[in-house]
Structure formats: structure tokens, C-alpha cells
């Protein structure tokens, strides 16, 4: 066990200091920072801090009934004008950014006139002025009803089989599982790509004979896999921190981001699938690395195998159209595609619990067999210097007592 940790620690240290790892790990936070900066600059450029004026010909607005903004300095300043002429003079004089004109029959028609010079008021201005009008329209209602009316409708769809909730406001909560799927998968594929590299490195560096006289081949590959798992988790943690910090910073500027909720159930299920899926891909890479004499050949074979792992991405249109299509169901249960398929399905539909359970059991069983086989192939392959293991040799290795 001691040796396993030593190998894990060594491999972790060896990889986190690589330039490639640092670049790929910092790319997401940097990308996020750039995206948020652009978003904030864009939003800020659209927002005018000038007051908004109104002309109330219907006589229902009270200038003193204004919504309370959480940040008073960001609150909209609203001015009342007795007539359109005065208001237009203020608009043309640059004192206000827009004028809302409520005609005498407004309460019947609900038609409003809007005047502005170049740019229409931003969404935030619309929202705040809308709140002001709602507060005035409901001024005569009891407090509890008034609050409910001002808040407006909020529809939540609950799936009775899984208890998952879908909110019409939270498109971001549909997007998040998709984004997370790609980040999860990217980190997994990177780490397992490293796995192939460390295995073939071991062969090319000819260190295997020294290693297997110090520890068992199972300890060696488990240590390597564990070290690289830590690499993947480090990468994911950095991504997660970047996303959370990014959302926190950007939320005040972008309405949709304020509605984002942490998809805990998604994260829980993905964590359950992540570890066996990672071990399965790592085991496949170990077996490929062990059987192939050179890194390049290993990468070619691994490239083909990656296509199988990435199949759900290619079938994304089908997944959107019909998440319960037999092919999608098949991919849910197929060990190499289960992780990504479930992750992607989560964003567009609910997945019955029995499907999650069965998929997980198949994945864990396959992974167990694959890890066992990979250890044998690795050991045998490592000692075949410069020669690939053919199918016959592979079968012989697996049958060996």
C-alpha cells in the first residue's frame, strides 16, 4: 500500500508541473475571465445610468411608490413629467434616457408609448420600470396578494418518477449539465490520455524491470491511475472554482445567471459514475499501452477507442430529439458510453432510476474485469521489448494462472 501511494504521489507531481497540464488547466479559468470581462463590458456599455421619465395621462402612478433595489446605487431613478413636451425637452437635453407615456385609456388598453433618442432602454431598465408600474397598479390590493402579483408566475415542472424539477426560468440549469459533461469528460480523457503516455513511457524508458522488482504490477498501475485521477480531480476542482467564481461575478450583470442553481443531484450521480468510468478508460489505456511497443502506435489505437467513448457526442442530435431512443438507451447501458450518455441525457430529460442503477452495475462489473485484464496485459506487454502483443499472446496472458 505504501508503494502505491509513493507511485501515485510521484505521478501526480510529475504531471502537474508539466506545461501542457498547466495550460489546459488554466485555460478554463482564463477563458472564463475573458468571457466574463467581455460580458460585463458589453452589459455596462448597454446600460445607461440616466433616469427614466414618464408622463402619466391615466393618473394612476405615484412617484413615491418605487421598488426597493438591493443595491440602492444601482436602482433606477424615475422622474415624473406633467406633459410630453416637458419630457421631450428633458430627453433631448440629455437629462433622461427614455420617456414612457401612459395615455388616458391605459388601464383599458394597457398600451404605452416609449420615446428614446438612439438606444432603447436596457433589460435592467425595463425590469425596474416594470416593477414600478406593477407596484402602482397593485397599490390598492392587500399586501400578501400584492407581493404575489408583483413576483409574477413561476412554473416548476416536477417529474414524478425521479422528483427532478424543471423551472421555465432556468435554461441555465439545463445548460449546466451539458457544460459540466464536457468538462468532466475533457478532464477524464486528458487524464487517461496521460495514462497511456505513462504506460508507454515506462516501456520506452525500460524502467519496468526495476519497477516490478520493487512492487507488484497491480500496485504500479493502481498507483499511476490514482495519481492521474488526482490530476483529473485537480483539474476539475480548478474548473469548478472558476465556474462558481465566474457565476458569482457575472450574476449581477446577467439576469439568467442569477437563476442558476447548483445541480446537486446531477453532481451526485456523475460522481458515482465518474470513478468507475475513469477506472475503465484508464484500464483500457493501460492495456493498449502495455500491448503496443511504442507511444505513437498506442496513441493511434487509443484514438480509435476514444471514438467509442465519444459516441454520445456524435449522436447529440438524436439525443436532443428523443432521449429515450433505443440507441440512446443502448449507450446508457454500454460501459464505455454510459458516463457521457447519462450526463447529456440529464440536461434534456429525466432518467428512470432503474436505468441509472443497471447502467452503474454494468459499468462497475466491466471495469472490474478490465482492470484485472489490464494488469496482466501491462505486465506481459512491458516485458515484450519492441514487439506488440498479438491476439494469441493476449489470450494466453489472460488465461495464465
Amino acid at each position: 500500500m505504501r508503494n502505491l501511494w509513493i507511485v501515485a504521489k510521484y505521478e501526480y507531481h510529475r504531471f502537474v508541473i508539466r506545461r501542457g497540464f498547466l495550460i489546459s488547466t488554466l485555460a478554463v479559468p482564463l477563458g472564463m475571465a475573458v468571457l466574463i470581462t467581455v460580458l460585463i463590458i458589453y452589459t455596462e456599455s448597454k446600460i445607461s445610468r440616466l433616469p427614466v421619465g414618464y408622463v402619466d395621462q391615466a393618473g394612476f402612478l405615484n412617484i413615491d411608490l418605487q421598488p426597493v433595489h438591493p443595491n440602492p446605487q444601482d436602482g433606477l431613478s424615475i422622474r415624473a413629467y406633467p406633459d410630453e413636451k416637458t419630457a421631450m425637452a428633458a430627453l433631448e437635453g440629455g437629462e433622461i434616457q427614455a420617456i414612457f407615456v401612459f395615455p388616458p385609456d391605459y388601464l383599458k388598453t394597457l398600451h404605452t408609448g416609449l420615446y428614446y433618442l438612439e438606444k432603447p432602454p436596457s433589460d435592467i431598465v425595463w425590469k425596474q420600470f416594470d416593477d414600478f408600474v406593477r407596484i402602482n397598479l397593485t397599490a390598492s390590493l392587500p399586501e400578501s396578494i400584492r407581493e404575489r402579483v408583483i413576483a409574477g408566475p413561476k412554473i416548476t415542472v416536477i417529474d414524478i418518477t425521479s422528483n427532478r424539477q424543471f423551472s421555465e426560468n432556468s435554461i441555465i440549469n439545463v445548460i449546466l449539465p451539458f457544460a459540466a459533461s464536457f468538462l468532466f469528460f475533457y478532464a477524464t480523457m486528458s487524464a487517461t490520455g496521460y495514462m497511456l503516455r505513462v504506460v508507454t513511457d515506462e516501456k520506452e524508458n525500460r524502467t519496468i524491470e526495476i519497477m516490478v522488482t520493487s512492487l507488484t504490477s497491480q500496485q504500479l498501475i493502481s498507483g499511476k491511475a490514482l495519481g492521474l485521477l488526482a490530476v483529473a480531480l485537480t483539474q476539475l476542482l480548478v474548473y469548478l472554482i472558476a465556474v462558481v467564481v465566474g457565476l458569482k461575478i457575472a450574476a449581477p450583470y446577467v439576469e439568467i445567471l442569477r437563476q442558476a442553481i447548483v445541480p446537486w443531484s446531477y453532481l451526485g450521480v456523475m460522481a458515482l459514475f465518474f470513478f468507475p468510468a475513469y477506472a475503465l478508460i484508464a484500464a483500457v489505456m493501460i492495456a493498449v499501452g502495455g500491448a503496443m511497443p511504442e507511444t505513437q502506435q498506442g496513441q493511434q489505437v487509443a484514438g480509435l477507442l476514444n471514438l467509442i467513448f465519444l459516441l454520445p457526442i456524435f449522436l447529440l442530435p438524436l439525443l436532443f430529439e428523443n432521449p429515450s431512443h433505443p440507441i440512446i438507451l443502448l449507450m446508457t447501458f454500454f460501459p464505455s458510453t454510459a458516463f457521457l450518455t447519462i450526463s447529456l441525457r440529464w440536461g434534456v430529460s429525466t432518467i428512470p432510476t432503474w436505468q441509472l442503477g443497471l447502467s452503474w452495475v454494468i459499468l462497475v462489473a466491466t471495469t472490474t474485469v478490465m482492470v484485472w485484464a489490464a494488469a496482466r496485459i501491462f505486465r506481459a506487454g512491458m516485458l515484450h521489448y519492441g514487439q506488440p502483443l498479438n491476439l494469441k499472446s493476449l489470450l494466453a496472458v489472460l488465461k495464465e494462472q
Binding site: N3, I6, R206, I208, E209, I210
Partner: protein, 306 residues
């Protein structure tokens, strides 16, 4: 108790019988030579000994027991297929390998300093392994073999890639290890090194033990089977001579089993194209023994096949 006891080992790879019926033992404080021509089965024997391969038949006992994790820590192995992590620094690689053998980082680092000084590698400790010359890498590999102070040292061609100064240093280190009571198994083709260092040897050919014993006893046994001749002419095709090579202006000849030196003398004297100026029985070298045993066996096998 023997440090190593190998009993009737056999191993087949597909159609090839790599090792068949190999037995020997090695005691603490002994340098044991594992010899044989290329492809004789030496490396396979070592790999079985170290549990890299499982034998089809036979058993291996190390320090009186089977090879387990604790026993592995008592072994230092310099394999024929040399290798270190090329993209890592020399010191971190050596410390890593030593910690896998049970040392803690601090002890490994402390010991490493002395070894690097001794091998004149201290100034290169932070360099990547790939930046070191072949000789330096070989020295680093020897350090990796010895850093954890093993009780059994298995070294395959320890002098390859070393200059005479470092060869002398490695010989000196092996002698120190022997005096410290370590059991050493050395496989090499450099017979003069075997003669200088080994107490006993085993010679393997085609997977079988063909010769075993103390170096001095073997040389004594084969004395009289080697001639030194000085004279004119080509002495390469004389009946009863396994090999004739020019050495120091004369001819050094290894006689076949059962060949009487007198009959060789008569055969040469009868030849008009040859002239003898000096004819004497030479002190046999392990090189000669090696050639005589291996070539005689080859001839024997050829005769059987025919």
C-alpha cells in the same frame, strides 16, 4: 542458509525452451558469475529469480523463503535493459526508486549525496536523465541498484558503457559489497572481470547448466587445454583446435576435449607451411574455458543432430 537457491528451473516461451533444468546457489559474501553465450537463458533465469517470470518447473528460494514484498526490498537489480525516467531529474528519480525499496525520503537523500560524490555525478544531480551521457546514466543506474543497501545484488553487464576509471571504481564497489556480506550475482561477457571478481560461476548454454564450480578449480581442471605458439604461418586450421587467435605476436589456441597437445605439435610439425619457434602449454583463462565448453557442446549437439 543460502542467499539464493535455484532448483531445476525450466521455462518455455512458445516453441522456445529458454531454460531447462537450471540449478545453483549463492551464499552471502560471495560474487557469483552467471555466464553463458547470447541467448543461453541467463536473463530468463535472472527474471525468474526475481519473479518477473513464473517458471514452468522448479523453485526459487531467496534468503530461505519465497519472494515477497519484504524480500524485494532486500534486492538490488541492475537489469540488462537499462532505464530511468528520462524526463525527470537524476536526484528525484533515484530518490523515488529508493523510496519504493523502503527508504524514507530523508535517508535516501542523505545516502544519495555520498554516492553522487563517489561517482562524480554531484554536479549533475538536478539535470534530467536524458541530458546525461550514456556512461553517466550507467553510473546512475548502479547507484539505483545500491542506494537502498540491498543484501542481494543482481547485476547484468555492470561494466558496459564505463571507461576504465569507472570500471575500476565499480569493481572496487562490488568488492566492498562482497566484504560487507552481500550476495552478488553478476552476469557478464567480460571474462577477465569474472576471473578478477567471482568466487564461483555457473555457465549456462542453450538453457542448461554446462559448467559450475569455483573459478580456480575450473581453471585448474581446464589447464593443459590451451597452447601458446609462436612461429610463421596460419595456425587457424589445425585438427583438434577449437579456436586459434593471435595474441601478443603469438597464437593462443583452445584445444578440443580429449585432444592431446602432443598430437597438435606433431600435426603442426608435419606441415611444411608452418614453422614453430615456441610451443608451450598456457595458463588457461576463463575465456578459453568458455569457448571450449560452449563450442564443444555446440559440436556435440551438431553431431547428435546429424
Amino acid at each position: 542458509m543460502h542467499a539464493v537457491e535455484v532448483s531445476h528451473l525450466a521455462k518455455r516461451f512458445g516453441e522456445t525452451q529458454a531454460v531447462s533444468d537450471v540449478s545453483f546457489f549463492v551464499d552471502p559474501g560471495e560474487i557469483f558469475g552467471l555466464l553463458g553465450p547470447n541467448g543461453a537463458g541467463k536473463t530468463t533465469t535472472i527474471r525468474i529469480l526475481l519473479d518477473i517470470f513464473k517458471p514452468d518447473v522448479g523453485s526459487v528460494s531467496l534468503f530461505g523463503g519465497k519472494l515477497d514484498q519484504d524480500t524485494k526490498r532486500r534486492i538490488g537489480y541492475l537489469p540488462e535493459e537499462r532505464g530511468l525516467y528520462k524526463d525527470q531529474s537524476l536526484d528525484s528519480t533515484l530518490i523515488y526508486l529508493a523510496t519504493l525499496k523502503g527508504l524514507d525520503q530523508k535517508t535516501a537523500r542523505n545516502r544519495l549525496g555520498a554516492w553522487l560524490d563517489r561517482f562524480d555525478l554531484a554536479g549533475h544531480s538536478h539535470k534530467k536523465v536524458q541530458e546525461l551521457s550514456r556512461g553517466m546514466q550507467q553510473k546512475a543506474q548502479i547507484i539505483a541498484t545500491l542506494l537502498h543497501e540491498p543484501d542481494l545484488i543482481v547485476i547484468d553487464e555492470p561494466f558496459s558503457g564505463l571507461d576504465p576509471v569507472n570500471t575500476k571504481l565499480v569493481k572496487q564497489i562490488l568488492e566492498e559489497q562482497q566484504k560487507a556480506g552481500k550476495a552478488i550475482i553478476m552476469s557478464t561477457h567480460q571474462m577477465y572481470q569474472v576471473e578478477a571478481l567471482c568466487d564461483r560461476i555457473v555457465l549456462i548454454d542453450k538453457g542448461k547448466v554446462v559448467l559450475e564450480g569455483k573459478v580456480e578449480e575450473i581453471k585448474h581442471k581446464f589447464a593443459g587445454n590451451t597452447l601458446v605458439i609462436e612461429g610463421d604461418g596460419d595456425f587457424t586450421h589445425i585438427p583438434g583446435i577449437l579456436e586459434a587467435r593471435k595474441e601478443n605476436g603469438g597464437w593462443h589456441m583452445a584445444l578440443d576435449y580429449g585432444t592431446d597437445p602432443q598430437s597438435v605439435f606433431r600435426a603442426i610439425a608435419a606441415r611444411t607451411d608452418l614453422r614453430i619457434e615456441r610451443f608451450e602449454l598456457a595458463e588457461v583463462s576463463l575465456d578459453d574455458v568458455f569457448i571450449q565448453v560452449v563450442q564443444s557442446k555446440a559440436a556435440e549437439m551438431g553431431a547428435k543432430d546429424a
